[in-house]
C-alpha cells in the first residue's frame, strides 16, 4: 500500500471529493503530471481533460475537468475545477456542445493570440472526446 495523501476536488457548486488517495493524474496546461504523497508545492492551471484518481474509498476513477487549477501543498492536493463530472455521468452531448462552442470561438477570434488559445482549447476537448471512445 503506497503512502496516501489528502485530495480535494472542488467545483464552484460543491465539494465533490475530499478523501485520502494514493495517486492523482492531473491534466495540467503544460502537460499531465501525477501527484503522489509528498509532492513538492506546485500550482498549475488545468486544461480540459480526464483526471485519474487511484486509491481512496472507491476503485479507480476518471473525472472530466475543465478550467481551473491544481494546487499541491503540504496538506495535499486541491483541484479547483470550473466543471468536474465523473466519466460515468458525462453527457456525450455536453462535450459535443462544448466542442461546437469552441469551434465558434476559433471562428470569432479577432487576433492571433485569442485564436491560438481557442484552438488549443478545442484540441483538448477533441482529445477528451477521443478518450471517451466516440
Amino acid at each position: 500500500m503506497a503512502a496516501s495523501f489528502h485530495f480535494e476536488l472542488v467545483s464552484p457548486e460543491r465539494l465533490l471529493i475530499s478523501e485520502d488517495v494514493d495517486a492523482v493524474l492531473v491534466p495540467g496546461s503544460e502537460g499531465e503530471f501525477e501527484v503522489l504523497a509528498g509532492h513538492a508545492p506546485f500550482l498549475s492551471t488545468l486544461r480540459p481533460g480526464l483526471m485519474r484518481v487511484r486509491g481512496g474509498s472507491k476503485p479507480d476513477r476518471q473525472i472530466f475537468v475543465r478550467g481551473g487549477f491544481a494546487d499541491t501543498g503540504p496538506d495535499g492536493l486541491t483541484v479547483l475545477a470550473e466543471e468536474a463530472i465523473p466519466v460515468e455521468e458525462i453527457d456525450r452531448e455536453l462535450i459535443a456542445s462544448q466542442i461546437a462552442d469552441a469551434e465558434d470561438d476559433v471562428k470569432d477570434a479577432k487576433d492571433e493570440a485569442t485564436r491560438d488559445d481557442a484552438e488549443r482549447h478545442l484540441e483538448h476537448l477533441r482529445e477528451v472526446q477521443r478518450a471517451l471512445g466516440h
Partner: protein, 297 residues
C-alpha cells in the same frame, strides 16, 4: 354598518389570501433549504480561491505584470455599482434594503464628484433605481428563467463586466447583495470587486503555510496564472453573491409571508367576531319585532 353578506364576503376573501400567503411561505421554506445548501456547498471553492489568489498576489506584488483587474488602473473616477436583487417582489424589505444601500453609496460618490453607473442583476433593483438614476443604468440581467443558479450564469455576468472594464468604461466595481445571516436577518453588503480586494485573513493564513513549506512552483508563470485566475475570481465572487442573495431572498420571503399569514389570521378572527355580533343583533331585533307585533294584537 356592514351587512351580514358583506362580512361573509370579506371573511372569505381574507381566508383565500391567507391560503396563498401560507402556500408561499411553505414554498419559500423549501426553496430556502436548497438555496442554503447551495450557498454552503459553494463556500470551499471561494475560500481556496482566496487563499491561492493571496499567495499569488504576494508573488507578483510590485511588479508591472500584475493584471489591471487586480490592482486597478490607478483611477477611481467612474464607479460601477453592480446591484444584485431578486426578480420577484413580496419578500419584505429584501430588495429595498439592498437598493437603499446602493443608492446611499451612489449619492455619496456623486457628492465626491465621481461618475456613477449601475449594472443591475435582477428586475426589482432595476425598477427601483430607474426612478432616480434612469440614464445611469448601463445593463440589466434577469435571472427569472433560471431555476437553479449555476456557475455559468455568474460567468456570463462576469464576462460582461470584465469587457466593460477592458473598454475603460469604469475604474472601480462594487458588488451589492444581501448577506445571508439567518432566516430573519439578511444584511445588505457592499463588496469591492475590481480592483480585487484580497482578504487579509486569507493572506495571513496562506503566508503562514508558505513559510512552513518549501518554495512553491508555478506552471505556467505566476503572471500567466494570475491573468487566468483573476477573471475567474470575479465570476466566483458574483456566483457567491448570487447564491447568498438567493438564500436571503427566500429567507426574507418566508418571514414576510409568515407575518402576512399571521395578520390574515388576526383579521379573520376580528371579522368573525363582528359577523357573529351583527348576526345576533339581527336575530334579537327580529324577535323584538315579532313579540311587539304579537303584543299589539
Amino acid at each position: 354598518m356592514a351587512s351580514l353578506k358583506d362580512l361573509r364576503n370579506r371573511i372569505a376573501s381574507v381566508k383565500a389570501t391567507q391560503k396563498i400567503t401560507k402556500a408561499m411561505q411553505m414554498v419559500a421554506a423549501a426553496k430556502l433549504r436548497r438555496a442554503q445548501e447551495a450557498a454552503e456547498a459553494a463556500r470551499p471553492y471561494a475560500q481556496r480561491m482566496q487563499s491561492v489568489l493571496a499567495s499569488l498576489s504576494d508573488a507578483v506584488k510590485g511588479s508591472d505584470e500584475a493584471p489591471h483587474l487586480m490592482v486597478g488602473n490607478g483611477r477611481d473616477a467612474t464607479q460601477l455599482l453592480v446591484v444584485c436583487t431578486a426578480d420577484r417582489g413580496l419578500c419584505g424589505a429584501f430588495n429595498s434594503s439592498i437598493v437603499r444601500l446602493a443608492r446611499q453609496t451612489a449619492i455619496r460618490l456623486q457628492n465626491e464628484g465621481k461618475k456613477v453607473e449601475f449594472f443591475c442583476v435582477g428586475r426589482k433593483g432595476y425598477d427601483m433605481l430607474r426612478r432616480d438614476f434612469g440614464n445611469q443604468i448601463v445593463d440589466l440581467v434577469e435571472l427569472k428563467e433560471v431555476k437553479r443558479i449555476g456557475f455559468t450564469d455568474a460567468q456570463q455576468i462576469a464576462e460582461k463586466i470584465i469587457k466593460r472594464f477592458e473598454n475603460g468604461d469604469f475604474d472601480v466595481a462594487t458588488l451589492f447583495y444581501a448577506h445571508f445571516n439567518s432566516v430573519i436577518s439578511q444584511v445588505p453588503t457592499a463588496h469591492q470587486m475590481i480592483p480585487a480586494h484580497v482578504e487579509d485573513e486569507a493572506a495571513e493564513t496562506q503566508a503562514a503555510s508558505d513559510e512552513a513549506g518549501a518554495v512553491r512552483e508555478y506552471e505556467p508563470e505566476e503572471s500567466e496564472i494570475l491573468a487566468d485566475l483573476v477573471p475567474r475570481n470575479i465570476s466566483v465572487q458574483i456566483f457567491r453573491a448570487l447564491l447568498e442573495n438567493a438564500a436571503s431572498e427566500q429567507g426574507a420571503r418566508m418571514s414576510a409571508m409568515d407575518n402576512a399569514t399571521r395578520n390574515a389570521g388576526e383579521m379573520i378572527d376580528d371579522l368573525t367576531m363582528e359577523y357573529n355580533r351583527t348576526r345576533q343583533a339581527q336575530i334579537t331585533k327580529e324577535l323584538i319585532e315579532i313579540i311587539s307585533g304579537a303584543e299589539a294584537l
